[in-house]
C-alpha cells in the first residue's frame, strides 16, 4: 500500500464500480446490500416483536418463528433483523469517524511535516503497540456499555492505519512535479487539496474504511459476546452471549438455532466486507492483485 506509482488506464475509471468487481466481490456487495435492506425494513419484515415474548420459550424454527425463539420466547428472526441495525450502525459510524479523522490527520501531518508530523507519528507508534481488545474491554467495563462508547473507543483505536497510509501517499504526492508546478502558479492549500490530493487519496481512504467497518463489526460483536454490549439493544454478539450463558446449552438442541443464526449473520457480513475490501484494494492499487 505504499503506492509508488498509481496510474490508471483512462478506461478503468470510467467504468462503473459494479463491472470492476470480481464474482466474489459482486456476491459480497449483494449480501451487504441485502443486510442493509433487512436492517432498514426490519419492522416490515418481522411479524413478531424483537423485545416481547411471542411464543413458547426455546421453540425450534417453524413457520411461525422462522429462526425459533430464545429463552424468553422472543422471536429470533426479529432479534437478528433488528440486530443488523446495530452491527451496521457500529460498522458505518466507526468507519466514517476513523476514516475521515485518519485521512485528515494523515493529510495534515504528511503535508505540513515538522513538529505536528513527528508528534502524530509518535502517537501512532504508541497506539499501534497497545493491544486494542483489552483496552476496549477496560474502557467499556468502566464507562458502561453503550453503542456510543463502543463506536468512539473503536474509532479512537482504528484511525491510525488510515492515517499512516494516507500520510505516506501525501508525502509522495507533494513531491510530484505537477503539484510543485501548481504551487508555483500560486495554488492555495485548499485548492491543491480539492483538485489534486483528494482525488488521489479518496480510493485509499475508501478501502481503508471498508476494512475499518469489518473490524469494527467484529470488535462490537466480540465485546457484546463478552457481555459488554449495550444491554438495551440486542446485537448479534449479545444474542450469542445470552445463548452461551445458558447452562448446558450444548446438551440440548437449542444451540442449533439460538447460536447458529446470529453466528451465521455475523460471519456473512464480516466475510462479505473482507471480500469487498480485497476487491477494492486491487482496484485502488493494481499491483496488489498481481503478486
Amino acid at each position: 500500500m505504499n503506492g509508488l506509482e498509481m496510474t490508471y488506464p483512462a478506461t478503468r475509471r470510467s467504468l462503473p464500480l459494479w463491472h470492476m468487481l470480481s464474482g466474489s466481490g459482486k456476491l459480497a456487495l449483494l449480501i451487504l446490500l441485502l443486510m442493509a435492506g433487512v436492517a432498514l425494513a426490519a419492522p416490515l419484515l418481522c411479524r413478531h416483536s424483537h423485545r416481547i415474548a411471542s411464543g413458547p420459550a426455546l421453540a425450534a424454527p417453524s413457520l411461525v418463528h422462522p429462526m425459533g425463539t430464545d429463552e424468553l420466547g422472543v422471536d429470533l428472526w426479529a432479534q437478528i433483523a433488528y440486530g443488523a441495525r446495530i452491527s451496521l450502525l457500529v460498522g458505518a459510524a466507526t468507519a466514517l469517524l476513523a476514516g475521515v479523522g485518519g485521512a485528515a490527520v494523515g493529510i495534515v501531518s504528511g503535508y505540513q511535516g515538522g513538529l505536528a508530523d513527528r508528534l502524530t507519528m509518535r502517537l501512532i507508534d504508541i497506539l499501534l503497540v497497545l493491544p486494542d481488545l483489552p483496552v476496549m474491554i477496560v474502557l467499556a467495563a468502566f464507562f458502561g456499555p453503550s453503542v456510543t462508547t463502543i463506536i468512539v473507543v473503536l474509532a479512537a483505536f482504528s484511525w491510525t492505519a488510515t492515517a499512516r497510509i494516507i500520510r505516506s501517499r501525501v508525502l509522495i504526492l507533494k513531491e510530484r512535479r505537477y503539484i510543485k508546478a501548481a504551487e508555483l502558479y500560486g495554488a492555495g492549500t485548499l485548492y491543491l487539496l480539492r483538485r489534486h490530493f483528494l482525488p488521489e487519496i479518496f480510493p485509499l481512504a475508501a478501502v481503508g474504511m471498508i476494512r475499518l467497518a469489518g473490524r469494527a463489526i467484529v470488535a462490537e460483536a466480540g465485546l457484546s459476546f463478552l457481555g459488554l454490549g449495550d444491554p438495551t439493544s440486542r446485537s448479534w454478539g449479545l444474542i450469542m452471549h445470552h445463548a452461551l450463558s445458558f447452562k448446558g446449552i450444548y446438551y440440548t438442541d437449542f444451540w442449533k438455532w439460538w447460536l447458529v443464526f446470529p453466528w451465521l449473520a455475523l460471519t456473512l457480513v464480516v466475510t462479505s466486507l473482507a471480500l469487498l475490501g480485497r476487491d477494492l484494494e486491487k482496484l485502488a492499487d493494481p499491483r496488489i492483485g498481481r503478486s
Binding site: 507508534d125 497497545l130 483489552p134 457481555g227 444451540w255 473482507a274
Partner: protein
Amino acid sequence: MEMKATEQNRRRFFDYLFTLFIVVSLNFALPRLMPGDPFLYLSGDHGEEIARFSTDQIDAYRHQYGLDKPWPAQYAASLFALLRGDLGYSIYYNKEVSTILLNRLPWTLLLVLSAVFFSTVIGCLLGSLSASFRGKALDRLLYPLMIAVAEIPAFLLGLMLLFFLAAGLRLFPLSGAMTHFAGTAGFWHTFVDIAHHAFLPVLTLTMVRTGAMYLLARNAMTTVLARDYVRTARAKGLSTARILARHSLRNAMVPIVTRVFLSLGGLVGGAILVENVFAYPGLGRLMRESVLVHDYPMIQGIFLLVTGAVLSANFLADCIYRRLDPRIGLSTEVQP
C-alpha cells in the same frame, strides 16, 4: 540517520516505557473518572445496620484507603504498590489479584504459545512451498485459501469448530481445560486429557494466525529466491530442499521472527475471546467473569498484565529485528 544500535534500542526502550506509563496512568485514572463516590453507597459490615454513613465515618474510610491524600500522592502510592507486585485485592474472589492471575496465566500461555508455534511452523512451511512452486497448481490452490483463512475472526471460527466438532460430532470436550475429579491416572493420562481439551482452542488460534504467517513467508521467500546466490546454488546442482533450508529460509527469517513477536498483541485479543468460546479457564475467561461481577481491581490487574506482556514482546521484536538485520536504521519503521 547513522546511529548506533544500542542508542536506537535505548530510544525505543523509552518509547515503550512511555507507552507503559500511559497504560498505568489510564489504570489509575479510570476508577477516579467514573461517576459517583465509592463511599456514598457503601454498605455496612456484617451485622451492622447502617442506612447511611456519617461524614466522620466516610472520612475514616477515606483515610483508611488513602483517598484523602492529594492525587499525586495517591498516584505515587499506587506506583510503589505496583513495583512491589501488589495489584490489589479482588472484591469478588476475595483473594490477592496477583495470586489469581498466577493461577490462570499458565492456561493462557499454553494456548498462545502453542498457537504461535504451530502457526509459525505450518505457515512457514506452506509459504516456502508456495514460493518455490510459484504459479503452479499448489500455489494457486493455497494462496486464495490462506487469504480466506486470514480474514476470519478468531471467535467466529472457534464457534464454528465448537458447533461441528464438539457439539455436533462430540469429538472434543465442550468446555474446561481438564476433566474434573479425573484422579491421578498417571502423568501420561493427564497429558492426553489436557491436550484433548486444549486442541480446539489451539486449532482455532493457529488457523487464524497461519494465514498471515503464510502470506509473510511466501513474500519473504519469493524475494530471497530471486536473489543471485540462490541462482548460483541452483546452478551448482543443489537440491530444492537444500536450497530452501540452507540458503533461503535463513535469510527469509528476519520478517518472520519479527512478525511472530509483533503478532502477540492481536493473538492475545483473539485468545481472550476464544477462551470464552470454549470456556477455557485462562485470563480471558477470568476477564469476562470479572466484568460480569464488576470486579474492578481484577479487571485492572488482567489489563496491566496483558498490556505489559504485549509491550515487552513488541520491544523484543524491535531488538531482534535490529540484531538480525543491521541495515535497518531508526528511520525505517517496523511494519506490524
